[in-house]
Structure formats: C-alpha cells, structure tokens
Assembly symmetry: D2
Homo-oligomer: 163 residues x 4
C-alpha cells in the first residue's frame, strides 16, 4: 500500500463523517447550494444582474426539496405546480464572475396552501451577499387553482426542527 492511497482512505473517512453530519442537517431545515457564477449573468456594471438572484433562490429551494426526496420535475408530472406568489430580495454586496456562491435555504414554517422559504447567499469569504424570501402556492396543474400542500410532502417535512 502506497502513501497516496492512505491519504485517500483518510479523505474517505472524512467524507463519510461529513455525509453523516449532512443527514443530521437535513432535519435541521437547511440546505446549501453551491453555484459557480456564469459570465452571462453579469451586466455592464461588472456584477451579477439583480434579476438572476431569483434563479439562484429557485435552485436553492429545489435543492432543499430534493433533500426530502421531493423532486420538483416529478411533482409537476404528477399535476402539482408551485408558482411564485411573492419575492423579496436584499442585495448586500455584489457578486462577480469568477466567484462561487452558496445559497442557504430553509423552510419558514410548515406549508399549507402556501410554502415559504428564506434564503441567504454567501460568497467564498463567508460574507452575506444577499438575503431574501419567497412565497409559493401549490396549484393544480390542470385547473390552475390553489390546492392544499399534498400530504406526502407534509409527511416528508414532519421531522423538521424549526428554529
């Protein structure tokens, strides 16, 4: 057995520990989405255009849902949509191309007809760059009328510990 492989074993253990921690986090109502800023997302101020952050939040909440094995594309196939009803964003610092950002998403409270998420985006220096929230509405894909949050989703969320 050579040295590089020993290092690899070491990192495997480390990774295993991290994954365990991750599983605990999930019940703590947090998800982190790492996003590499795209060049196309910048504007002539040299920073990410403010309209793009709505996409970052969207990635955040879909990743959050994925953690609970709720995959939005399957939800839509099953006839449930989640259009955005309101959106609030505060831009604390600019984000530039070449940076990675981390979207921290958490559920505000258990959903009913509406589901509310809060977001904080951090840069690689752990500085808060953006904060915000969204309210989405469960909607029947055919009638386009609001419906209650499907029970399998409520079931999936019941072990969440809110702060």
């Amino acid at each position: 057995m050579n040295l590089p492989l020993i290092f690899n074993y070491f990192f495997a253990i480390l990774h295993a520990c991290k994954m365990t921690k991750f599983k605990i986090d999930k019940m703590n109502n947090n998800s982190v989405s790492k996003i590499a800023v795209r060049y196309a997302e910048t504007d002539q101020m040299g920073v990410v255009h403010h309209s793009i952050y709505a996409q970052y939040f969207e990635i955040g909440r879909l990743d959050w849902l994925n953690q609970f094995h709720i995959h939005y594309h399957k939800m839509e196939q099953e006839g449930v949509m989640l259009p955005v009803y309101d959106l609030q964003i505060k831009y604390h610092r600019p984000i530039k191309f070449g940076e990675n950002i981390f979207v921290n998403t958490s559920l505000k409270k258990l959903p009913d007809v509406k589901i509310q998420f809060v977001y904080r985006i951090f840069n690689e220096d752990d500085q808060l760059v953006t904060s915000g929230s969204t309210t989405l509405v469960f909607v029947d894909a055919v009638t386009r009328k609001p419906i209650k949050c499907p029970s399998y989703i409520l079931e999936a969320f019941k072990r969440i510990e809110f702060d």
Copy 2:
C-alpha cells in the same frame, strides 16, 4: 380627399389629445412602458418566469427616467451607477406569450442616496398582474461607494406632484 384619410385625420387629432394628456401625466409622476412578452421569457408552466419581472421593472424605471431626460446609459458614462438594493414583487396573475403588458412606474418620493420606485403591471384587459417596488442606490462608478443623488436629477424632479 378620400375616406381613409379622413379617418387618419380623426386619429391624428385623437393622438394629439392623448399626447397632451401624456405631458401632464409626466409631472404627475407616472410612466407607462408597453412590453410585448417574449417567447424566451416563458417557462414550462407556460407563463413568464418570475425572474423576468425584475427586467420589466428595470425597463419601467429607465423609461420613467427618460421622460425627465435622464438617460441611464449617459448617467453611467458620467460616472454614476444605480445598483438595486432591494426588490419586492407580488405576482397576482400569470402573463403569457402573445400578450402585451403595461408597466406603470412612479417615483415613491424625492431621492437622496436612495431612489425608490413602485410598479404596477397591467395586461391588455386592464387587470393588475404584478405589483412591486425597488430601492436603488446612487453609487460612484469608480469608488463604488454610495453618493447623494446628483443635483441635476433633483432639479429635474422638482415639479413632480406626489400623491
């Protein structure tokens, strides 16, 4: 003189009346931007994606500024930038490709370091589809530090009648 031209005269008078009304409106702090929804702006729900509305608001406020002969691209050339500090959007009804929308923009109050706009978007049936607001900050393009609203802008705004 033939009939179609008489109709044209009639519409010319109508148009002249409308333009006069428009000039009065300007002092009343309103602008209307007509936007034809782009196919590329829709998502797989079949409606305009919620992130696009930040672009609609941006078109609205830049048109509003144009009415006061403040052209944002010249402002940037002169070293003043207006990054968005916060954004709120409420989505009352969806917008579809094939529709024209009308972004009604007005200034909330006289600006200082910040400038605040409110927006209401209507569809062709005069239904309110979206409402929202933004706060932007005057920033020195070189230092990227906040500055006071340039005096020529305040001068241009002084005849505005706020509701």
Copy 3:
C-alpha cells in the same frame, strides 16, 4: 384650426403612405422588428451578451409570421410547435445598452418539414451588427414528431417573392 393640428394632419398622411409601403413590403418577404436593448442584456464587457441574439432572431421571425397573420401562440394552441433545429450567428459589431436595433427577417424558401429564416440586425446608424440564420422544424405538440408545414401556412406564403 391651429398649427399643431395641421402638422398632425401632415404626419397622418405620411403615416398612411408608410403603411401602404409596408403592405407591399410584406409580399417582398421582409419584416423589420425594432428592439430597444435592455440593460439586463449587457454583460461585463459592456455589450449585449452573445446568447441574447437568439432571442432577437426569435422576435424577428415571430414578427415576420405575424405579418402573415400566423400568430405563433395560436399555432401552439392548435398543436403545432416550431423548435429550433440549427442556429448560426455572426457578430460583426457589438450592441450597447441605449441603442435601438432593427432585426430584418426574411424566409429563405418555402417551408416543408423545415422552415428557414435569415436575419440581419442593423443599428441606428444603419450598420450591419449581426447576421444569421435558423432552421426550425414543424412538430406535432403531442407526439413531438416532425410534421409537414400546415397547409394554411403554405397558403399564406404563396404570394411571397423570393429574391
């Protein structure tokens, strides 16, 4: 009768003449779409990002179709889709925010399963800024399989004079 209204009459006649010219142009297989460049479309090079031009072309060909009373949103409702099969763009000059551009669109030849458009974009100084072409395929919205160009569309196109 006052002087401004006389001017308005004059412009009404001018407008009427222009509209007639426009109707003749339609049979000549051209359409012109005026687009005001959006701030959000710029990137940190200070020019419109190259990915946006595909949207400009799309606006161009949908306007071209509108001239023939073929409204794409109705076409989709009737079960026919037109996905893009290929796209070529040449970028001759940059476009900046603050500019208006003019997308000149024309049909390359009568469509069969495919429909091909060519585009030239000009700036306000009549300089060619972009040229390109697209091939789109008529597709059944349900089966997503290629179909022949609907006969009502071929009918609408039969008076087109190709160069």
Copy 4:
C-alpha cells in the same frame, strides 16, 4: 472497521484512478462540464430554450481554459477580452428540467487572433443532444481592437494533442 467504511475505501481508490485518467485527458484536449438544468431555462415547450445553449458552451470553454490554469476573469483583469465572433448550434434532442447535461469541449486548433472551440453536449443516457462551435477573437480591453493570442496562453497549449 465496519462495512460502509470499506465501501468508502473502495470508492476512494476508484476516485483516485479517475483523477489520474482526467489529468491525461487534459493533454488530450477535452474537458467535461456537468451542468444541472435550471427550471428558469425551460420555455413553454417544456424544454430548455435554444438561446441558453450559448451559455452552456460558454461554461464549457471557460472550464476548458481553467484546466490550463487560464482563468477568464483574470484574463479580462489583465486587459484581454474574448468576444464571440461566430456561433453554430445544432439541436439534436431536447433537454428537460431535472436532467444533468455534460458539455464536452475541445480546442479546434492552436489559436492566433482567433480561438475556435467545438462542443458536444450529452445527456445522462450518453445521447448526443447538441453539437456546435464558436470562434472568439482576442481583443485589447482598452482599444477593443483584435490582438494576437497572448504568448503565455500559447505556451500553456503547446502540449495539446489535436486529433
């Protein structure tokens, strides 16, 4: 020692082997960028809008350059820009939200004033979904005039084996 950790060791070794292969690939002029399709990228046809692929190609070539330690955001800071001169895309199959795609990028030949990349995008089933190419031009950021490819870039590329 428990079973899950043994599995982790196994994957660590596998991973180490893959990384070695990757390093060899780099000299073989290939890069692979994995991209999770964003919901916002879909249109009302239920697939990724064709204009987005220009962004995917951009991510592909910037990742390709990163492999050679050429970071585009640093290049721009040092006064060299790479605007796109032409773009060709062929859309073989649609891409849907919920899918991951893999952008395979390679350099066509050693650059001079121009640099040319070719792209093939695959889905998770290893099906070719898109192919294309771009030509970009080295430009002085101040004068905006074409310049020769900087020598440090040519130096970095000299070990590339073209097919």
